[in-house]
């Protein structure tokens, strides 16, 4: 039974990996295991307010202490005109982590590379030919694609397990204004913030879960003892 359960879970996880990598030439990185905290969420929120909120809204995210402290508030969000950007306006990001997953979002910001043929000067491994420029070019620096575009499209057709990580096919051209490790932390905080925005009550949910399960367990023990008492009468 346990074996079966393990196999089942690994199939489920494998399915999701296949699903999410789909046509990308690289595999997704796992986001660093940083423990989320109020301070981290606020600093991730600040990053969002500075670098993302000119273009992207979080329409389902209304006033809350973390949003207020980081400046991510409804009246500062852009009103998005669906006709602008030739019909492909920047999407709302309220649910981006629930839709794409945190690993995808984390890897997303490592997927930019310089490409002179694009109007933005850069291209992207996960969303090819995106019209979104790299918002962190200053902090992060720039990367160069080490393989040809043809090789990229070969990689796209590979099974997920055989795709390389981004750093095998991208090389740093110019270093960013902050050390890479520091950028990685900031980026992780941004992803944590967006994960929070995707489901603000998650912490409350997990906290309540413990109490509910404990209550049910106690009740279960009582019910078990009662059951045993009654069934003794049958012997």
């Amino acid at each position: 039974m346990r074996k079966f359960f393990k196999a089942f879970i690994s199939i489920v996880i494998a399915l999701n990996v296949i699903e999410l990598c789909d046509a990308a030439p690289i595999r997704l990185e796992s986001m660093p295991q940083l423990k989320s905290s109020q301070a981290r969420l606020i600093s991730g929120g600040r990053l969002f307010a500075q670098h993302c909120m000119q273009c992207h809204s979080l329409q389902y995210f209304t006033h809350d202490p973390i949003g207020d402290a980081s400046g991510v508030v409804p009246d500062r969000m852009p009103k998005i005109d669906p006709e602008a950007w030739s019909g492909h306006p920047p999407p709302d990001l309220s649910l981006i982590t629930r839709y794409r997953g945190t690993d995808w979002l984390y890897t997303y910001f490592y997927s930019y590379y310089q490409d002179a043929s694009r109007p933005t000067g850069s291209n992207h491994l996960l969303t090819a030919n995106t019209s979104m420029p790299n918002p962190f070019e200053q902090l992060q620096g720039t990367h160069q694609l080490m393989i040809s575009k043809d090789q990229l499209s070969v990689l796209e057709k590979q099974p997920a397990s055989q795709k390389p990580p981004w750093y095998r096919i991208l090389k740093t051209m110019h270093a960013g204004s902050i050390p890479a490790a520091e950028f990685d932390t900031q980026l992780t905080e941004l992803v944590l913030f967006l994960e929070y925005v995707g489901e603000p009550h998650r912490a409350a949910r997990e906290a309540l879960g413990g109490w509910v399960i404990m209550f049910l367990l106690i009740f279960f023990v009582v019910a078990f003892l009662l059951y045993r008492e009654y069934w003794k009468m049958l012997d």
Binding site: Q59, Y60, R98, Y99, H201, R205, L208, W231, L234
Partner: protein, 410 residues
Amino acid sequence: MSQRRAETSGISDWINQRLPVNQFFIRHLVNYFAPKNLNFWYFFGVFSLVVLANQVLTGIALAMVYTPTGAEAFASVEHIMRHVPYGWLLRYMHSTGASAFFIVIYLHIYRALMYGSYRMPRELLWLTGCVLFMVLMAESFTGYVLPWGQMSFWGAKVIAELFGTIPGIGTTLVHWIQGDYVISEVLLKRFFAFHVIAVPLILIAMVMLHIVALHSVGSNNPEGIEIKDQCDRRGRPLDGIQFHPYYTVKDIMAVLGFLIVFAWVLFYVPEFWGLFLEPANFQPANPLVTPAHIQPVWYFSSFFAMLRAVPDKSYGALVMLSAVVILCFVPWLDRSPVRSIRYKGIGSKIALSCLVLSFSILGFLGTQPAVGGYLIMARIMTGVYFACFLAMPIYTRIESCRTPPKRIQG
């Protein structure tokens, strides 16, 4: 017992002289005899009642806020998740409950197949069950459309197109169902009406028939022998025990166990790794952007794989429909002299295993693209699935069975 009850006066007497409440409970709980050997598999009927209650109660609360319009449906679900006090809890209870319903029902059906609970005299009990299964599918399909995410929209479109494959009337029928030339808010509002009132009414009525049928023929049991054949002088089955208190306490314990697992999923993995709540459905419906993969929720996955296994769409739809309807014929396909798998021969044991295996493999294949080896596999498994049913009259007749005991041992 009855002595004491006769002494109580006042309200309870007043009521009972006018409405036989006590009599009802005594008849259906105390003087209702169930086999003493009902095992783990017999909990799933009660579990489905619990899940049904959960769906109805949380559904009522959700319907107070949810707005079935194209512009607001998706946002109103997010509003429930974020701004309605404990709205997230209600929504997760409902979404987890939907998947739990199917897990519980699949195991409930498996139990009936295992112990031959569909055999004479329980054919109508089984048939009401089959109808319940179909009604439940309608209920969950209409419900899945309501959040109006990408998969809601495109899933509805794929199913609507199936009706379009009916020769002659197809297109007209699709427009009639949709109330529009395309999938639109008109369909959303219709599905809302079906999901919150029409289908639940039928579901609850059918559950009542199911229980009435059960109580008139009595439970089967893992041995597959009739306890009513061996009674004492007062006409009580020798191997039966009073439902109350014995099975009421046992069921309460089991329900609590079930709720612990349910709560664990609900509070810690409500998306269940993308199976209970699919990532693609966290994007609002967009008629202009077709998702890369359109696939139904996990519990329809096996049937979806059968649909795609057939090259022609209308025949595919027919095969998919038959896969459900064939269940109704099982009482007459089974020709075995015994009921329970415990006493049946090797043929039945292999067939039941193949049935479970083919259905599970089809479930997996339904989540994969229907190409190459996957497609061939889906075709083979569809064949195996139907063979398990269609060959039933043969293998149940020729295999050698063991003779069940007259009484339940131990």
